[in-house]
């Protein structure tokens, strides 16, 4: 099925942001694992996988619309040296993603592509959920202090 004007461009822009986020969240997850923050490792890894599922859907949809998914382009991967820096960098990426998705959703409505619009709206919901989780972590850090927060992310010893 042929895509309406500008839709493939938007989908590829979102794909680029998605592929960038997958890498950023995944390296943050592995750094948390390396530091022994087992709870954070699982949570951030899950977010990376959520982005991968979105990328899968985007690639399939671009092909369905007879476009070419651009797997080549990647944005800047912002890697934090500390947990706080990582959370702030990820929050910025998610906020940028919501901005991009909202812009694309409006465009789809304008050109009358309601299937793509519906798919993007579901992705905004996921990003909103991620933002809420990150904001909660940052607020908890503010309230209990970084050290207290981090001590609750540490892996429990067996036995």
């Amino acid at each position: 099925m042929k895509a309406k004007e500008g839709v493939i461009d938007f989908l590829n822009k979102i794909l680029t942001a998605d592929l960038t986020s997958i890498n950023q969240y995944f390296v943050h997850a592995k750094m948390c694992e390396n530091w022994g923050y087992e709870r954070l490792h699982h949570k951030v890894r899950e977010r990376s996988f959520d982005e991968m599922k979105d990328a899968e859907e985007l690639i399939g949809h671009i092909l369905y619309l007879e476009g070419v998914p651009n797997m080549q382009r990647l944005g800047a991967v912002h890697v934090g040296e500390t947990v706080s820096e990582q959370l702030k960098a990820d929050l910025k990426s998610e906020q940028e993603m919501v901005r991009l998705l909202t812009e694309a959703t409006s465009h789809c409505a304008k050109v009358g592509d309601y299937t793509t619009r519906h798919m993007l709206e579901d992705m905004v919901k996921d990003s909103d959920r991620h933002i809420d989780w990150i904001e909660t972590q940052l607020e908890t850090i503010k309230q209990v202090g970084l050290e207290n927060y981090l001590s609750h992310q540490i892996k429990k010893e067996d036995g």
Binding site: A76, G80, E81, T82, E85
Partner: protein
């Protein structure tokens, strides 16, 4: 924050280089090897930010937070 993943450079590395007197964009690229084959060149797009960081025009985001690694 890491400023160049290819070279594993952090904001504090740039700050240290700045303290050694290397603050101009071209000099930073040369000294840190940001134009060699091992660097993808992505960081050079924001070279002015790095130059500002070297001159401490940008506050170090990580300077007040406890480090996990260092």
């Amino acid at each position: 924050m890491y400023v160049c993943l290819c070279k594993g450079l952090t904001e504090s590395d740039i700050h240290r280089v700045g303290q050694a007197g290397i603050v101009e964009a071209e000099k930073l690229v040369e000294v840190l090897g940001l134009n060699d084959d091992e660097c993808c060149g992505r960081c050079v797009r924001d070279i002015q930010e790095l130059a500002d960081l070297a001159t401490r025009k940008l506050a170090l985001q990580s300077s007040n937070s406890p480090r996990c690694r260092y």
